[in-house]
């Protein structure tokens, strides 16, 4: 198991404690760790190296602020730089009408699904989209788009007899203007960037239909390959944006940083699920936190929504946001967790808990945590502050655990609440400090979580 980036940064930056000024020498170890950590998050080798160099330049010479652990400054610089990099560029789509969008990418990256999602989104924004099936290779790809178009009530164009992709594109444009569509999205076949024939084909399609947007659709879990892919597609097609898909999984998404650094093309949308509604605008800070393993409350809540009814989920999100989250909520949430499957992936999304491994004993541990909370009165669950020594002992007895376990649970719950408060205040710096503190104490999670 790769350690989470946050954890790695934590240990790397610990070495910086006690120095007066950041220098190349005293940061060397830490930055090496940072590089390794970025690599483990699938950031491309060269991109990771450049990124670290840039961060180093920004850090060297800075005085270590009093009252702040030296590492925190560095973490903040890294995070800010990452947000800046990821967020550069125009994330809105072109305002042209009719709006023509060409979707391109490797096999299985999610082009067809994203075409339907984008169609749905633009329809909501007042366009009349037509989706055009230009994947003549993969069996039933045309059927797939047709079914999705029908489902979302989008106009659809295909020519099942034709083998001439640019001609299909041109005919789709004609069909669009005939039926009053003011937006055409071209779904194309998956192709390898080294497949000269297919790259030539899509270039011709591009020349023919003159799209306003050329969007590269990329699997969020793509590895080092991301750079080769993005470079070639960009050179051949002058991309205008990226769509990062399958981020409802637990991939760190380091490929996004690679592609962004190499092409400079802005990330425009994020795919968060298989349903046509699971499409999101892109928030650089969320992705930066994800790459850095800092957790993503929003995704956590979204995940929860699949299993919990809407009202419950909203209530929970609200509570997390307001940091008004008590042990009873926690218990309820833990019971949901059981329904939600992989604990590990869930925990990765919790602030400050990304490094916590769910071992084989996790289920047992979770049961103990549950038992502890069950042994509390409702009042105690809502206001854990009232838990004095004798109450704690009673709870320990009731749950059949040692009192230290009760103490540990409460302490960690407090930390979690603090994290939520900081996130609520948007205090990135404070949050960093908190994270550092939690790491210093060794663990950032609940027992059993």
């Amino acid at each position: 198991m790769f350690e989470s980036l946050t954890e790695k940064l934590g240990s790397a930056l610990r070495n910086l404690r006690g120095v007066g000024t950041l220098t190349e020498a005293n940061m060397a170890d830490a930055l090496k760790e940072v590089r390794t950590a970025l690599l483990a998050a699938d950031v491309h080798f060269k991109v990771a190296r450049d990124f670290v160099e840039r961060v180093q330049t920004q850090c060297v010479g800075q005085e270590v602020l009093k009252g702040v652990a030296p590492g925190q400054q560095v973490v903040k610089i890294i995070h800010d730089e990452l947000v800046r990099l990821l967020g550069e560029g125009e994330t809105n789509l072109s305002a042209a009408r009719p709006l023509k969008i060409l979707m391109v990418g490797l096999h299985g990256s999610g082009k067809t699904t994203s075409t339907a999602k984008l169609g749905k989104l633009l329809k909501k924004r007042g366009y009349r989209p037509l989706v055009a099936a230009c994947d003549i290779y993969r069996p039933a790809a045309i059927d797939q788009l047709e079914i999705l178009a029908k489902q979302e009530e989008l106009s659809f164009y295909a020519d099942r007899a034709s083998r001439d992709v640019p001609a299909i594109g041109a005919a789709a444009l004609a069909a669009a203007s005939a039926d009053g569509s003011d937006c055409v999205i071209f779904d194309t076949a998956g192709r390898l960037q080294i497949d000269a024939n297919l790259i030539e084909e899509v270039k011709k399609l591009r020349a023919k239909v003159q799209p306003d947007e050329v969007l590269l659709v990329v699997d969020g879990a793509l590895g080092q390959e991301a750079v080769n892919v993005a470079k070639t597609f960009h050179e051949a097609l002058s991309l205008t944006g990226l769509i990062l898909t399958k981020l409802d999984g637990d991939a760190r998404g380091g490929a996004a940083l690679s592609i962004k650094s190499i092409t400079g093309v802005p990330i425009k949308f994020i795919g968060m699920g298989e349903k046509t509604g699971d499409f999101d605008t892109f928030y650089p800070d969320r992705l930066a936190s994800r790459i850095l393993g800092m957790g993503d409350v929003v995704s956590l809540v979204e995940k929860a929504q699949e299993h919990i009814d809407q009202k419950d989920a909203e209530r929970m999100a609200e509570k997390m946001r307001k940091a008004d989250f008590n042990l009873e909520d926690f218990l309820a949430q833990m019971q949901q967790v059981k329904k939600m499957g992989s604990m590990q992936s869930l925990i990765g999304m919790m602030p400050g808990m990304s490094g916590v491994e769910v071992g084989p004993d996790a289920e047992k541990q979770m049961a103990r945590t549950e038992a502890i909370i069950h042994s509390m009165t409702y009042q105690e669950r809502r206001k854990p502050e009232v838990l004095n020594g004798s109450r704690r002992q009673r709870i320990a007895n009731g749950a059949g655990v040692k009192i230290v376990e009760v103490n540990q649970l409460l302490k960690q719950f407090q930390q979690m609440q603090k994290m939520m408060k900081m996130m609520k205040g948007g205090g990135g710096k404070k949050m960093m400090r908190q994270m550092e503190m939690m790491q210093r104490q060794g663990k950032g999670g609940f027992p059993g979580m």
Binding site: P139, G223, G249, R252, S345
Partner: protein, 309 residues
């Protein structure tokens, strides 16, 4: 059937070239020095080998270099290939003749990894070996997934059992097994819907497919293969772990290695889980499925393949 073997060879030659492109420059015609070691590190990382394997290979080459400064590129490549061969020892999966009929092979994995294509390729390959195969279209979720498999089946003239979109995947598997049994088929290949490993309820559906098949035959599905996109990075290890935990994987197929991706993540998966790798996917045609060979892979990565040199 004519030309099948040649196609295999071509496909593999393509990979060989792709994998060795970057390293060949370092390994041939010169002595190793500090610069080339750095280049090598980059090449290993960009092959998605991950931190651990990269460090291990580099350490051995460095050790040899310290002992003998005249170390040649070719020798360094051989050391690298040897480390990789050692790390991957035992990683070759070989499909035994079907012990029971039908022997069930389930294809599982995340969305778009290549399950359906691999199911078709595998059916085609087994058919070529004289086996009788039935395909089960258990992706009842994704739009036109059933049509996709059916279209392959028609093209390759292989029987497929399918139901309507939205049907219960486990029920389709159940019926398909029955049909395959009644017709005396050797293999039943079950194509399933793509699912991210992080989605518990979808993982439950897989367990259900298994349970239902076990009503027919407690040992079914005998083979539970994860189909992994070879261009993914470290997350494929995470995928393999979770699928393994909930479904007990018996094998791996790594796809899309006809690109420039070197598929190094398979090394990480093997290191952690010791699930054998049966095939590599090398293209979109029925014959683009290559049995995995540790020796060929290790040689290819370091540009030592005889076809190339």
């Amino acid at each position: 059937m004519f030309g099948l073997f040649k196609k295999f060879k071509d496909g593999f030659a393509k990979t060989v070239k792709a994998i060795s492109d970057q390293t060949a420059g370092i390994f041939f015609g010169k002595r190793i020095d500090a610069d080339s070691l750095e280049e090598l590190e980059e090449a290993l990382y960009t092959a998605d080998f991950g931190v651990e394997t990269t460090a291990e290979i580099l350490a051995e080459i460095r050790k040899a270099y310290t002992a003998d400064e005249t170390l040649q590129g070719r020798q360094a490549a051989e050391i690298g290939a040897a480390v990789l061969t050692r790390v991957l020892a035992g990683a070759e999966g070989a499909l035994p003749p079907p012990a029971t009929k039908p022997t069930v092979i389930a294809m599982i994995g995340v969305n778009g990894s290549g399950k359906t294509t691999t199911a078709a390729k595998l059916a085609w390959r087994l058919k070529g070996d004289g086996q009788m195969v039935t395909l089960a279209a258990c992706d009842t979720f994704r739009a036109a997934a059933v049509e996709q498999l059916k279209s392959w089946a028609t093209k390759l003239d292989i029987e497929v059992i399918a139901s309507h979109p939205g049907a219960d995947a486990a029920a389709v598997a159940f019926d398909a097994w029955q049909a395959a049994k009644a017709r005396g088929r050797d293999y039943l290949i079950v194509d399933t819907a793509g699912r991210l490993h992080t989605k518990g309820h979808l993982m439950d559906e897989l367990a259900k497919i298994r349970r239902v098949l076990q009503k027919h035959d407690p040992s079914a599905p005998q083979h539970r293969w994860l189909v992994v996109d070879g261009s993914l990075g470290t997350n494929s290890i995470e995928q393999a772990k979770v699928f393994h935990e909930s479904f007990g994987l018996t094998g791996l197929v790594v796809t899309k290695l006809d690109g420039t991706s070197r598929g190094g993540a398979l090394v990480g998966i093997w290191r952690q889980l010791k699930i054998p790798i049966y095939f590599l996917g090398l293209g979109e045609q029925a014959e683009d499925l290559q049995p995995f060979s540790v020796e060929n892979y290790a040689k290819a990565v370091f540009g030592l393949d005889d076809q190339k040199v």
